[in-house]
Amino acid sequence: MPAQLYEVDPIAVRDEIGKERLIELWRRMLTIRRFEERAELAYRAKKVAGFLHLYIGQEAVATGWYDHITPGVDATVTSYRCHAHAILSGVDVKELMAELYGKATGNAKGKGGSMHFFSREKLFLGGHGIVGGQIPVGTGAAFSLKYRKTGGVSLTFLGDGATPQGTFHESLNMASLWSLPAIYIIENNQYGMGTACHRANAVDSLAEAKAVGYNMKAYTFDGLDLFASWKCAQEVVAEVRRSSRPVLVEAKTYRYRGHSVSDAGLYRTKEEVERYKRLDPIARVQQALQDAGWLSEAEANAIDEEIRARMAEAADFAERSPEPPLSQLTADVYA
């Protein structure tokens, strides 16, 4: 049984968000998109190497949720598809781009790369390279926030491919058992690498079907719709702050790029990708802004130009930054 999608009235949500804030949300989504396009370009030019898992197409999910938390008071953690979450946590894009370039000025001093962005100040507990490995970590953050009575909540982002992992089950069980202020957001982009979700999961509805086993509430929303993401986040974050009961959420979303940049994407049709591209979350918000008369095309283009310029500047900064000195090879192995 497919889950009931979280229902929103787009006009009402648009008006609730308001002009300035909605422009800001659109700007954040576009920043993520342009950052990653720039990173992809640098990858093709062999400036960036290793894995590069792009979030392109999924921007509405994290953008909606981060708007209802305070990074640093609230904690977040995610998988290796972590660029958006670091940007939304408030990490400077120059620092992130430099990390992709493997430079000393990078977010992790050039030691982490694309999959391992972090921010101690913003309690962004990282991008994690082992599928499902971050789920207990996010649960531990919720444990700590509750123990220290900070009032913070923890958001753990994971892919659909992580839900069959044991850590998913173990974490949700503990979070519910101990009433931790933890929110688990499954970003279901429909493929765990090249395996369609239905070939890896025994149930259709990841949140609704699985939450029952942990005595948790579940929500499912259209992850390509910023208004649904934002509104669902508003309700769930407030509820978890109040109740300290964990919640399981599923975002139905889609990634336009491959699992990582080296993925030829033979497991899905071009038509399918095109169909989802017509639902582009960023274009839809821009359309909503235009329809409301809040942002003209010219104004939107000007903002886009400004963002592209920032990304070019970040790439330039990364390019010009020095490599990590060899003296730092074993630094930070131990604290």
Partner: protein, 363 residues
């Protein structure tokens, strides 16, 4: 190095033993001997370190199976639930990967968790969290997220518990940069090293031994800590160095007594922490004896002995008068049968044979 204020390690044999009828044989209070010393067992020394550090630091919490209401599967955490309450001493479900990962997340956000593995054998269920997360987080975050985490529990063979419950994990966890591996052989060492573990910011594998939990010793009442990477001479001797950790220290001392009767005086060096390893202390001893036997409960391939032998070859090649001998757990899963188990472990009879080989004596 030990500083001048650190009390010297006390003798291994207590003047008197605890009487289980009239004295506590677990919990965190030792028996005050009235002369600045207390008598306690290994499990009590560990419990006392936890108690004292939890009093000092409110960010310390203990998580594990049966640690709270049951007082610990081996009664190591006895009394801590009553002393600190269920917010700080937490019974977990049987979910090693989950609670280890949870502790790592808590360590990244202001807490200093202690995870108890009911046995280190069960740490394999949490292996990914220990290796991929705990050991690498500090490095791959560019130093942003150190992991102040202590993982502890019994390690090595228990009594007749067969294949899946008898692993010694010193060598496995020492393989990974980012982890500290502590493997104490006495109550004095265990207490001092555990207190150090709870005051620093790296993930520590603290390896205890079920067969030593009741081992008693007189230790100072006064506060002390023992730094990582400083070996301890458990016996002085001129003829052959025996490097041994954890329970093997006691087997090595037994073997040394026997060998002394035939005129071979062994020096027993207890590294106490396998990582960092105090190779200088081992080299110092080998410069004196020119012979070395390494005794461990890990397997031979890639074991502690392999590491010590390689480092001695690099650092003290010219000082060696004989090949380094290794006495390890034999390369088979632990068998159940008593005679087979006896032969699998690096017991005194095998140590004696190895020392004789190193000294070119007939077996």
């Amino acid at each position: 190095m030990l500083d001048a204020s650190t009390p010297l390690a006390p003798p291994l044999k207590p003047r008197r033993a605890l009487d289980p009828k009239s004295e506590p044989i677990n919990g965190y209070r030792g028996v005050d001997l009235g002369d600045g010393r207390q008598l306690l067992s290994m499990r009590m020394a560990i419990c006392q370190a936890l108690y004292e550090e939890m009093q000092r630091d409110p960010t310390i919490v203990i998580l594990g199976e049966e640690v709270a209401e049951y007082n610990g599967a081996y009664k190591v955490t006895k009394g801590l639930l009553d002393a600190f309450g269920p917010e700080r001493v937490i019974d977990t479900p049987i979910t090693e990967s989950g609670f280890t990962g949870l502790a790592i997340g808590a360590a990244m956000t202001g807490l200093r968790p202690v995870v108890e593995f009911m046995s280190w054998n069960f740490s394999f269920v949490a292996f990914d969290q220990i290796i991929s997360n705990a050991s690498k987080m500090c490095y791959m975050s560019g130093g942003a997220f150190p992991i102040p985490l202590v993982m502890r529990g019994p390690n090595g063979a228990g009594p007749r518990v067969s294949s899946q419950h008898s692993h010694a994990v010193e060598a496995i966890y020492s393989h990974f940069p980012g982890l500290i591996v502590v493997s104490p052989s006495t109550p004095y060492d265990a207490k001092g090293l555990l207190k150090t573990a709870l005051r620093q910011n790296n993930p520590v594998c603290f390896l205890e031994n079920e067969m030593l939990y009741s081992f008693e010793q007189e230790i100072p009442l006064a506060e002390y800590t023992i730094p990582f990477g400083v070996a301890d001479l458990k016996r002085e001797g001129r003829d052959c160095t025996i490097v041994a950790v954890n329970r093997c220290v006691h087997w090595a001392l037994e073997a040394a007594e026997e060998l002394a009767r035939e005129g071979i005086e062994c020096e027993v060096v207890d590294p106490r922490t396998v990582k960092p390893l105090d190779i200088e202390a081992i080299v110092r001893s080998v410069r004196k004896t020119n012979r070395c036997v390494v005794v461990e409960e890990c397997y031979r391939t890639g074991g502690i002995g392999a590491e010590v032998a390689a480092q001695l070859m690099e650092l003290a090649f010219d000082d060696l008068d004989a090949p380094v001998q290794r006495v390890t757990t034999t390369e088979n899963p632990m068998p159940y049968a008593a005679n087979l188990e006896h032969e699998t472990l690096p017991k005194p009879h095998r140590i004696i044979a190895a020392v004789r080989r190193a000294c070119y004596r007939s077996p």
